[in-house]
């Protein structure tokens, strides 16, 4: 999870914004409890999204209270008091960050000190939820193996990360897990991986590092890749959005799901467009949208 999952802020209801921030604060406090204080700094809003999703599907309500915290000493913040699910998610976050840092060190982008910072937190997470650490480490090593082999098939390269999210959802949702939740988290994992690949495209090409999108289209820069090979990527992303839409339409939610809907239906496509067409035209998708319509007019329906 690399901070790609975010809401479409102008369209986010005030109530959902409050909930979103409260969940984030709750997670932060929860991590303090479960993995120690230093691990708190590793938190990202991605996990707050997962928290909203998992609480909702499990039917566990959160209690929001005004509390002070170390980062906001003077003004009290709305905090969703951490429960077991929050604590488990905190462990997921710590373990994810720890393995990500291990990965970076292996790739030569050393963050040795940073990893040391989170090592203790990771050990506590491992003790609390050994299954989570096992899922992450197993899938991450598979991901590394695929990348070392230089996998050129986009769908295949995303598989381990997608599987990791799927397995994490099964673990976290327990009896509430089902075909649609599994598929949703699979798609989310796939999207996160692809969003990261899209974001790092130019950087990876420059460094000669592995990037599946580059491997598949072989264009020297992202702009050219989008121009020449955009159709395929647009298909992959549009298909992912459609699959996620289908999933959330079929999942049994216990509460109203405006927050997660905003993120999945608007936030994720918006973020993708920004990464794809550049920041300036991503906002409303207008210029980018028109460009895309020009470059691949008949992609999709009735292309026979």
């Amino acid at each position: 999870m690399f901070g790609y999952i975010s809401p479409d802020a102008p369209y986010l209801f005030k109530k959902d914004e409050v909930l979103y921030k409260a969940l984030y604060c709750g997670l932060c406090k929860g991590i303090g409890k479960s993995c120690g204080q230093t691990a708190r700094s590793a938190l990202s809003y991605d996990i707050a999204f997962m928290s909203a999703m998992i609480h909702n599907i499990r039917g566990e309500d959160v209690t929001i209270k005004k509390q002070r915290c170390i980062a906001h000493i003077f003004r009290r913040r709305q905090v969703a008091l951490p429960d077991d699910t929050t604590l488990a998610l905190g462990c997921v976050n710590t373990a994810l960050v720890y393995f990500k840092l291990c990965d970076d060190i292996r790739d030569g982008d050393g963050h040795g000190i940073k990893r040391l910072l989170y090592k203790k937190g990771y050990k506590r997470a491992l003790k609390r939820h050994p299954a989570v650490a096992e899922i992450i480490s197993r899938n991450m090593s598979q991901q590394n193996a695929l990348e070392e082999a230089g996998c050129e098939i986009i769908d295949e390269a995303c598989e381990p990360t997608a599987q990791m999210m799927r397995e994490l959802s099964i673990y976290l949702l327990g009896p509430y897990s089902g075909e649609w939740t599994e598929k949703l988290f699979y798609c989310l994992g796939k999207w996160v991986y692809l969003a990261d690949a899209l974001d790092d495209y130019d950087k990876d090409v420059k460094k000669g590092a592995y990037n599946v999108l580059y491997k598949s289209c072989r264009e020297p820069s992202k702009a050219e890749a989008v121009k020449k090979d955009g159709g395929e990527m647009v298909f992959i992303f549009d298909m992912l959005f459609a699959q996620m839409r289908e999933c959330i339409a079929n999942i049994n939610f216990s509460f109203n799901h405006d927050l997660t809907d905003n993120i999945i239906l608007r936030g994720i496509p918006l973020k993708t467009r920004k990464l794809f067409y550049g920041e300036s035209c991503g906002g409303c998708g207008k210029d980018g949208g028109r460009d895309a319509a020009k470059t691949q007019p008949a992609e999709g329906v009735g292309n026979l």
Binding site: I153, A242, R245, D258, R273
Partner: protein, 217 residues
Amino acid sequence: MKNENLEILGLSAGATREEITEAYQVLKAKYLEERFMDGEVGNNAARMLTRIETAYSELTKEMSEDVSSGGGDAYARVEELIKAGNLQDAQRELDNFNERGGRWHYFQSVVFYRKNWTNESKKQLEIAMQLEPDNEQYKDAYRKLNDRINFDAQSGAAGASGTQTQNGQPRNGSTYQGQTMNGNTSDNQMGGNGCAQCLDCCYTYLCVSCLCDGCCR
């Protein structure tokens, strides 16, 4: 499979492709040597050579037809495995095929689709359609696959209804409309792209607010 042809190669019914090829090669080598011998032996060898040639070509033709026309049990097995959700075994079965016609690519596409590998699934269907341009089943599958992109634009979570529909159709209505890579054309906001800048403003405000947070209260 014609038993006669098998007998010529010295095999019985139920012989595998490998056995047939092996027997054919052994016999061919034998008769090729014998055909220049004197008398009846040479004549017989020349006759046998033609016979094994025709027998072998007929047998291989029959076998490949068996596989690609769907008469083969192998495809039925793959189909069963897919239906049972056992994608790993289905993939293993598919990997064992030597002849890879349109039907093979179709089944590969189905396996990929079930694995959520939509892009690969699409590619396999395209190959299948290329190999068998007249096959309606593949065209239909391709159309359906592409139509999935529009999910909820017509029926699903989007729209005002938001109520339960029948036949396993979506249960949850949603306040938001789904978006695609092309942006949402029906959602024309006044000021257009301005909202991107407006957002920047919001973030700046947020940062300033955070900075002031400590002292303002």
